[in-house]
């Protein structure tokens, strides 16, 4: 597509965007139809889960498509008979811990990689870079053993510490800091600021978007972690929600769908709200980081 050709097109009275749309999709209601079907398909499982969360098991098996009479009983199962709040508190602590420390550590290492020149920097950088290719999942058996050797099973250390270093976070901030003009740091040094002062007084205020992006991605990732807590936590009082909601189905006897769905809906709300409201941050965060 040459520039000249493009120019000709523009001169030849470019059709309006709406006209293009019409030419792109033969009839507008096609698009509406497909979108409505798609929204319906993606929404129906959650909608049904919502209905079931208010129903008794008997109502579930009558396939009743309206709110049922079991909400209070289900609520009691979720918060009194089982302890979803315990799991939620644990997950909040884990998520906050991972997000907070990962952000801080990434900021520090980003600072070191951009604003310092030290021997063997490329080697250290490569050392961090290579960890991008080591997914935690394939190391999980050895990690499990190691955490047990440290005597960390059933502690928040096990849930938080292994996930606080991040090659992706480091790169994210390195990239961002490198785009900030060098004059900033020269000026700061003339003012006698030390590196940490420079980081927290100058860089951080200029990086809220990047920090926010990383934080959103990490929050959703940590909140949704399943495999690792499931392996390392065996004490129910320390369990996090993704495994914890599984206990709601154990009532002795048949699966109790009402409490299970109530729990499911409750634990899904925080990440969904965060995700919907911070979509843009999430995307920029995710594009630059691979989840780790």
């Amino acid at each position: 597509m040459t520039a000249a050709y493009r120019e000709t097109v523009r001169v030849a009275q470019a059709p309006s965007w709406k006209k293009t749309v019409r030419s792109w999709v033969p009839k507008r209601w096609y698009a509406h139809l497909i979108l409505i079907v798609a929204c319906f398909m993606s929404g129906i499982p959650l909608f049904y889960a919502l209905l079931v969360s208010t129903q008794t098991n008997a109502e579930v098996f009558r396939y009743q498509f309206s709110a049922g009479s079991g909400l209070e009983a289900n609520w009691n199962v979720v918060f009194h008979e089982r302890h979803l709040h315990t799991y939620m508190i644990n997950s909040v602590i884990m998520t906050a811990g991972i997000t907070f420390f990962k952000t801080i550590f990434s900021l520090l290492s980003g600072l070191a990689f951009v604003y310092f020149r030290f021997p063997g920097k490329w080697l250290v950088f490569g050392f961090v870079l290579i960890t991008l290719m080591m997914p935690t999942e394939v190391l999980i058996i050895a990690l499990f053993r190691f955490i047990n050797d440290l005597d960390w099973q059933n502690t928040f250390y096990a849930l938080i510490v292994p996930f606080t270093a991040s090659a992706t976070g480091t790169f994210l901030f390195r990239q961002h800091f490198a785009s900030i003009p060098a004059e900033m740091s020269e000026a700061a040094q003339l003012d006698g600021a030390n590196p940490l002062q420079f980081l927290f007084r100058v860089l951080v205020p200029m990086s809220w978007n990047t920090i926010g992006a990383l934080a959103v991605v990490q929050t959703i990732y940590a909140w949704n972690m399943y495999l690792w807590p499931n392996m390392i936590i065996s004490n129910p009082d320390m369990q996090t929600i993704q495994t914890g909601i599984g206990t709601l189905r154990l009532g002795g006897g048949a699966l109790r769908f009402g409490p299970l769905m109530l729990g499911t809906v409750i634990v899904s709300l925080p990440p969904v709200i965060v995700f919907i409201l911070l979509q843009k941050q999430f995307m920029s965060g995710f594009t630059l980081t691979r989840d780790k």
């Binding site: 597509m1 493009r6 097109v9 523009r10 470019a14 059709p15 965007w17 293009t20 999709v25 798609a38 499982p45 959650l46 049904y48 889960a49 990434s106 290492s109 600072l111 070191a112 951009v114 604003y115 310092f116 030290f118 920097k121 490329w122 050392f127 960890t131 080591m134 997914p135 935690t136 999942e137 394939v138 058996i141 990690l143 499990f144 053993r145 292994p162 606080t164 270093a165 991040s166 060098a182 004059e183 900033m184 740091s185 590196p195 909140w223 949704n224 495999l227 392996m231 993704q242 909601i245 769908f257 769905m261 499911t264 969904v272 995700f275 919907i276 979509q279 995307m283 594009t287 630059l288």
Partner: protein
């Protein structure tokens, strides 16, 4: 010893010397120095895995398959040492900076301050990524159980038995099938929906929110909700199917159907993410390009294929990588809630699921470690292939 370590070292030295001599010549260094460095690197590489293994694969009583594995380890060791050495010497000879975009201005004076700044990250990486990696390698050569009195060294038996195990080959093929189905279905449906949702229709922003939210649901929750709908006795879907079509499918207990239930749940969960990125990508396609195509009178599909699709390739590539990771690792939770135990006839047992089953439930850590290494090599191999075929022209400007 069928093959002596000395022979292997000489072999490594020859390979290394040839590679380095070539690199030195091309970069204008003295080939003879390259020859020397390469010989040392190659000899060292040949011993990299073999010394910890004590050259056990070449013992006389071992099978030929063990020797094949031994040779693979020797070659891998040589490659692991010689490649970075040649890369490094090439860079040094050409006097290129080792870090391409290193900042030179505005740096702080006392370089050692960088050490405490890097310390937390490096410590965590060493303890919780590097050390477990080495430990995984060590465990993969052992029979090991938690709480047992002893560990037993078994050379490469944990690997060779996988080759001879039809069940594992099945698991491998099934993992590929499930993963690729998830990626292909999720991405193509997402592209279709995104190409509608990015249009400036009335209510577009509402559509977008209603389409993307499932991403934030966890894989575990996807499993639970699909369990509610798809469980064969008493699930909603079978109830409706029975009423409308008079058939009931074994969504979770029929080995031919169960993998599709997993795929469906994973596609449902992952589509939001793909739609979000495709909408963004489509919005970045210059509108005049599409208009130009329209004026040319090119058909809908042709316009899409020749104009829009190439513009989306960076996003597509990015999505393939993230979706594959999701399909390989994160589906574990979905499987665990939908078909605990790995499904009828192991039909939903993926490689990841098998690792955990073996390592945690059966307490058979050595074999589980060996299988994680196979899984790791599979994922790395696929990523490399992807980068070779599609990743080169991609620029990350999403």
């Amino acid at each position: 010893m069928v093959v002596s370590p000395v022979v292997l070292m000489i072999m490594g030295a020859v390979v290394g010397a040839a590679a380095l001599a070539f690199v030195f010549r091309r970069a204008g260094g003295r080939p003879l120095i390259g020859l020397g460095i390469g010989a040392i690197a190659g000899a060292f590489g040949s011993a990299l895995f073999m010394v910890p293994l004590d050259y056990c694969t070449f013992e006389a009583e071992r099978q030929s398959l063990d020797r094949v594995f031994g040779m693979i380890f020797v070659l891998a060791g040589i490659a692991l040492v010689v490649t970075p050495v040649s890369w490094l010497s090439g860079k040094l000879l050409r006097r290129e900076s080792l870090m391409a975009d290193d900042q030179t201005q505005g740096t702080f004076r006392h370089w050692w301050i960088a050490l405490p700044l890097l310390a937390p990250t490096l410590t965590i990486l060493v303890l919780f990524l590097y050390y477990p990696s080495l430990e995984t390698l060590r465990l993969s050569t052992m029979l090991s159980r938690l709480g047992a009195r002893r560990e037993v060294f078994v050379c490469v038996d944990n690997f060779t038995r996988l080759v001879n195990d039809p069940a594992y080959v099945d698991t491998f093929v099934r993992t590929m099938f499930i993963s690729f189905s998830i990626v292909v279905l999720s991405m193509s449906l997402s592209l279709l929906i995104a190409s509608m949702a990015y249009l400036p229709l009335r209510g577009a922003s509402i559509y977008r929110i209603l389409l993307v939210w499932p991403y934030a649901m966890s894989p575990a929750v996807a499993g639970i909700i699909f369990l509610l709908m798809f469980n064969p006795s008493g699930g909603l879907v079978n109830h409706l199917f029975g009423k409308w079509f008079g058939i009931k499918l074994g969504w979770l207990n029929d080995p031919a159907v169960a993998p599709w239930t997993i795929i469906l749940a994973s596609v449902w969960k992952s589509m939001g993410f793909n739609i979000l990125f495709y909408i963004a990508g489509l919005q970045n396609v210059p509108k005049d390009l599409i208009e130009a195509g329209a004026i040319d009178g090119a058909g809908l599909l042709r316009r899409f294929w020749h104009i829009v699709w190439p513009m989306l390739s960076p996003i597509t590539f990015f999505l393939i990588v993230t979706n594959l990771t999701y399909a390989f690792f994160e589906t574990y939770a979905t499987i665990d809630y939908l078909t605990p135990g790995g499904g009828p006839l192991q039909s939903t047992t993926t490689m990841m699921y098998r690792v955990i089953q073996l390592g945690v439930q059966n307490n058979d850590m050595g074999k589980a470690a060996a299988q994680s290494i196979v899984l790791f090599l599979t994922v790395i191999g696929m990523t490399i292939v992807l980068f070779r075929t599609g990743g080169r022209q991609v620029n990350y400007g999403v």
